[in-house]
């Protein structure tokens, strides 16, 4: 049975009519048309579909759209302001942490959520926060560098554990 739901995506309210079996990812990609959220494994393993529900990263492929009624959701499109990239996105460009780019939206959202909670993470904090995002290209080193780069500039340079 179809239901009317309201999702607040990147600050904008969207009214959708969905059946309960539509996942959040399908709603975001197919109904709202924001294609930055990727459909990877669609089984909750790879993290490509990561979005922020409130402040917290979740997997949109295994979350039902109807479960998010009235909730605030941030997708990768919500991080940049027009052509201006967010700090994390700029750091990814600087570090060359993007290769094929399929995992990148998810990784950037997980990293952004980490820095919000812990502005000065060390390498093991970053590894733990990004464990739910699989990347098959970069080998993760450049990604970790990018997240360190984007972390609070007033923080002391953390080069302990530089050898990953």
């Amino acid at each position: 049975m179809k239901q009317a739901i309201e999702l607040i995506i990147n600050g904008e309210t969207h009214d959708l009519i969905v059946t309960p079996n539509v996942t959040l990812q399908e709603a975001i990609r197919e109904q709202i048309g924001l294609k930055g959220t990727k459909a990877g494994c669609e089984m909750g393993t790879c993290g490509a579909c990561t979005v922020l529900l409130g402040d917290k990263p979740i997997l949109s492929c295994i979350t039902l759209a109807v479960e998010c009624q009235g909730k605030e959701i941030t997708t990768i499109e919500g991080l940049s302001e027009g052509p201006t990239l967010s700090n994390m996105q700029k750091a990814f460009v600087r570090a060359g942490a993007v290769q094929c780019g399929f995992c990148t939206p998810g990784v950037i959202l997980s990293g952004t959520a980490l820095l919000k909670k812990n502005p000065q993470p060390n390498v093991s904090d970053i590894k733990k926060a990004l464990e739910g995002n699989l990347c098959r290209c970069t080998g993760y080193n450049s990604i970790i560098e990018a997240v360190l780069d984007a972390s609070d500039p007033s923080a002391p340079q953390q080069d302990q554990e530089k050898k990953l």
């Binding site: 049975m1 239901q3 059946t19 309960p20 079996n21 539509v22 996942t23 669609e42 089984m43 909750g44 393993t45 993290g47 990561t50 529900l53 917290k56 990263p57 979740i58 997997l59 295994i62 979350t63 039902l64 109807v66 479960e67 997980s110 959520a113 590894k127 733990k128 926060a129 990004l130 464990e131 739910g132 995002n133 699989l134």
Partner: protein, 361 residues
């Protein structure tokens, strides 16, 4: 032959891979209402808490409920100490909440550790304690889309065979993979279950059946509402170690939970509980090893003996490509490591140094 081909092509044409089939979605606002809805919806209903286990299983076609009863309107009560000293956790608390709670870190550190090691960040933000305890058991054959397997369904999919254990009798040997369950077993936790005629409490040690087809002693119309950890367990030395192939985002190869009551001078062990998860159709206790440990001094030479004993008595099911021998070895090594870790912590507290002489942690 033609019939077989038709079956396959028909299967493929009909398969909507990775799309969920239709179901009803109910959103009750109280626990009582959840149970009432489960009763009226009958056998074909399932409880949706975080959905991190249920929804992949529905996509794989292992479960096909007609009605999902969502717990999204039940807000988690904050963990607290009850009048009789038990630590009470709400079953809808997310694993992130458990991993980060200062009270749980203080009173049941191994539980916070176990929660911290489940899945990835995104999973922990959605997955709940109750859901983790009631997750489906797993098997390399089962946790794939059936549409591409071109074989008859197995017992768990209501078929008539078992692929990993073809000669094993008519039982499902999928492995129960919860990390929280072995920890709660060592902490002697009790589950509060809401039924149609009121609440009942179950000792978590009696909660798992060991039958892959019905891993839990829980009727379809019952709901776990909270978990109680008794006062005496909160004073135990407890550890949790999870062996995974690559550190994060994995189900365990073996997960070990240990809880010891040590006497005042922290040397003699008066009570010991060792539970091993992800190794069989239910979490197993190492009873012989516990007996050996109880009443004896906690020292490295004893630890070696105890971990050998545990490896001998715990019978692993080879799962996900790991052999029996390898899993037994993991049990031995990880029990040894967790006990050595306790000795180290106790030594640090007392200012001694006995580990390191002849024992590699």
């Amino acid at each position: 032959m033609i019939c077989w081909l038709e079956k396959i092509s028909g299967g493929l044409l009909n398969s909507k891979t990775m799309k969920l089939s239709q179901f009803d979605h109910k959103t009750p606002t109280s626990k009582k209402e959840v149970v009432d809805l489960l009763i009226t919806s009958g056998q074909d209903s399932a409880i949706l808490a975080g959905g991190t286990d249920l929804i992949p299983n529905m996509k794989n076609g292992i479960l096909m409920p007609k009605t999902l009863v969502s717990l999204k309107h039940l807000s988690a009560q904050k963990e607290h100490i009850t009048k009789n000293g038990s630590l009470k956790l709400d079953a809808v608390s997310t694993l992130s909440q458990i991993a980060e709670s200062p009270l749980i870190k203080e009173k049941a550190p191994s539980l916070a550790q176990a929660a911290f090691h489940v899945g990835g960040q995104q999973i922990r933000n959605r997955a709940t304690l109750g859901g983790n305890l009631c997750q489906e058991s797993r098997c390399l054959y089962l946790n794939q889309s059936h549409d591409f397997q071109f074989v008859e369904a197995c017992y768990k999919r209501a078929g008539d065979c078992c692929y990993p254990f073809p000669d094993g009798g008519r039982i499902c040997r999928a492995v129960f993979m919860s990390d929280m369950a072995p920890v709660l077993i060592t902490l002697g936790a009790r589950l509060v279950v809401l039924t149609s005629h009121g609440e009942r409490q179950v000792d978590i040690a009696d909660f798992y059946t060991g039958d892959g087809l019905k891993p839990m002693n829980l009727d379809p119309n019952e709901l776990i509402t909270s978990v109680l950890i008794p006062l005496e367990s909160q004073k135990m030395q407890c550890r949790f170690i999870k062996a995974t192939p690559r550190g994060g985002l994995e189900f365990a190869m073996v997960s070990i939970a240990v809880a010891l009551t040590l006497d005042k001078r922290d040397k003699k062990c008066s009570k010991a509980l060792i539970a091993v998860g992800s190794i069989n159709t239910k979490p197993l206790r190492a009873l012989e090893a516990e007996k050996k440990l109880t009443g004896s001094l906690l020292k490295p030479s004893n630890v070696l003996e105890v971990s050998k004993k545990a490896a001998n008595e715990i019978k692993p099911l080879p799962h996900h490509g790991y052999s029996r021998g390898y899993l037994s070895q993991l049990v031995e090594v990880y029990i040894k490591r967790s006990l050595i870790d306790i000795i180290k912590a106790v030594d640090n507290k007392n200012g001694n140094q006995i580990v390191g002489k002849g024992v590699k942690p």
